[in-house]
């Protein structure tokens, strides 16, 4: 089967979103394995210069119009549905993002084609695209084979690696007229409200160095900050640390704080109370350091170190320093 995938590019304020690269990377891999074409679709206004980052695609369809400058559901649905109807690709990849959620279902109903939501994997088997979707928040996986016609797949952010889709090089460019029907638009983009510049968002950090009461004093938090920096991560904490105002509430992990799912969660001097564990048990890798071998944190940790954090922190940092130099 020859691949024919459209990837709907997402951009905000002149920057392509990671989501775009995540989808492109996967599409590229399938096209390399099975042959065929990956087409990026870029709708916007004054966005032609983004083309040079879309080297993972074979072709780029550029649609520019002032009405497409910022995402608004109706103009985007208008141009993209027209395009899909005309070109009939096998699969259209859309992000499961605020933009994609507005787009995918509307495209599917307008075009009367199937839509697959919450996709976390994609492969090609025989003559079909096989899409894996999450059900029940990830407790159940569903595989769907798309055998003929066009289907819309809504891809979960983080399902694929953005790095795989970040390739320089400009794909073959085709610019098409928007052909918009503004008389039908009942929604328009007003303005972009930026969140107040706040503290770092620990739910986005790939690595968290998390401290509990074992850290003993507010001053010692600086040690954790140093270690986090060496690891390329951020500092989070258990609630008593926040209650004592040693860290802002935005750093609290747990039932009454944030739920985090970093690649590495390093728990330093945290006992592992159920209210804490509720917020971090889904981390990819949990490493706990605690002087108490019976601390409940060890029952959720993948690796446990029964040791004093004040021995472990400097030793770790030293090792990391060696690796860098």
């Amino acid at each position: 089967m020859s691949i024919s995938i459209f990837v709907i590019a997402e951009h905000l304020e002149g920057t392509l979103a990671d989501m775009t690269f995540e989808m492109l990377g996967k599409a590229r891999q399938l096209a390399d394995e099975h042959g065929g074409m990956v087409t990026a679709v870029l709708a916007g206004y004054n966005v032609a210069q983004l083309a040079e980052q879309l080297g993972a695609a074979d072709a780029l369809i550029l649609i520019e119009d002032e009405l497409l400058a910022e995402f608004a559901p109706q103009p985007y649905q208008d141009v993209i549905s027209g395009l899909i109807r005309e070109r009939a690709p096998g699969l259209v990849m859309v992000g499961s993002t605020s933009m994609g959620l507005d787009l995918a279902a509307a495209l599917a109903t307008t075009l009367n084609v199937p839509m697959l939501s919450s996709c976390i994997d994609l492969s090609v088997e025989d003559d079909a695209y096989v899409v894996t979707s999450q059900l029940y928040g990830g407790k159940i996986m569903m595989e769907t084979a798309v055998t003929a016609g066009t289907a819309i797949a809504q891809i979960l952010p983080g399902a694929f690696r953005a790095e795989d889709g970040q390739r320089a090089g400009t794909p073959t460019l085709e610019e098409i007229p928007p052909g918009l029907h503004p008389e039908n638009f009942r929604m328009r983009f007003e303005n972009f409200i930026k969140p107040e510049a706040g503290d770092i968002d620990i739910t986005q950090a790939p690595i968290l160095v998390s401290v509990g009461r074992g850290i003993q004093t507010q001053e010692n938090i600086a040690l954790a900050e140093e270690l986090a920096e060496a690891l390329g991560g951020s500092v989070s904490s258990s609630r008593p640390i926040v209650d004592q105002d040693w860290l802002p509430v935005t750093r609290q992990v747990g039932k009454s704080g944030m739920s985090v799912k970093p690649r590495l969660y390093l728990a330093l001097g945290i006992s592992g109370a159920p209210e804490h564990v509720e917020g971090m048990k889904n981390a990819d890798l949990i490493v706990a350091v605690n002087t108490d071998p019976d601390a409940p944190i060890f029952s959720v940790a993948h690796y446990g170190v029964v040791a004093d954090i004040f021995d472990v922190m400097p030793a770790l940092e030293e090792r990391l320093g060696e690796r860098v130099s």
């Binding site: 609630r239 926040v242 039932k255 109370a273 159920p274 409940p296």
Partner: protein, 402 residues
Amino acid sequence: MLAGEEVIEQMWGVSLDRLYESAEGQRILSCIQCGTCAGACPYGEHMLYPPRRIITMLKAGLIEEVFDSDSLFKCVNCYTCMTKCPREIKLTEILLPLVKEQSAVRLEEMPAELQKAIENTYRYGNSYGESARKRAAWIDTIDVPIRILAKDPTPVDILWFVECDLSYHPRGQDAARATALLFHLLDLDFAILGPEERCAGDCGRLSWEPGLAEALVDYNLSIFEKYRFNRIVTNDPHALDAFKYRYPMFEFKYKTTATVPELHRHLDRLAPMLSRKLDYLVTYHDSCCLGRHNGFYDEPRALLEAIPGVRLVEMEHTRENSICCGGGGGGMWLDTWYKQQDIERLSDRRLREVIATGADVLAVACPYEVSRFEDAVKLAGYEDRIIVRDITELLVEALGGH
């Protein structure tokens, strides 16, 4: 205090717009604006509209302004105002939930913790978001035989409604194990619903999400119908409240009591089993629902005093004056919201009274309290001086040779 039945009759069908058509609405009109409610409320000073002012606004036709404030997010359903009101206005029971419901609807953003708890309860039947199938997993951790009705549906005397915290929270499970052992030793005929049980829809959630509460009531009633039992016993005073005051509106007809009074009924047989001396100075924290709302003040104390060696000491605020741990009325899922408003958690405030007694053990009877107070103890740095125990845990500790 009114008998349960009378309260229920008054609540049925009462909505804010038709409030004055009900007996309770007429009673509200009798408010003398004495302010006792506001003064007694543990969070009164933080509320723009404490109960007294809510009534003023209601009478003045300005209730919308109350809805737009977040005053009632600071109400922990502690029943203090209602217990103290000289006009016996059913504030916590009737007026406040109606106002809370409207305030929640208008809130721009539901606090994330509360939102998550409500969503989890809707999806999984417990606020922890744990699988329903694991609800009875704790029974494999003890030797006591525990019957699950789905497996053996023969009629039983006591349906033990374990509730979420005792089923899932590790410290709650300690109390579940202790309770099971005590029931077993007392030869009580009891069984549980296990995976079929779902949150009773306690007072906190009832006030924020009446729709969810009703769905839970419907569900649990449909399960109760499947089995034959005489009465319900539950460790969770909030579930007791739900069964005693809310479920009867939906044709629920079972007698319900809490574990503490149930154990107290068997004290003559239980006391001789308590042969191990516990040399503890104990102070007991009255749970709002068990104490103020249902009048069980003496039973928990009698159980504690039956333990050889235990000496009881009272806190400054005790029995009907007890201060809430802050977990009721949804407070269990608003800790960070309180912190962001710069309001001290009630568990931290209450712990100072505990510490002032010089007690070594804080005894509690509500599953929210163990985790709340153990956390407060850590924050105060008192781990070496005081431990928190459910009454059932202390009773089991005092069993000689078991």
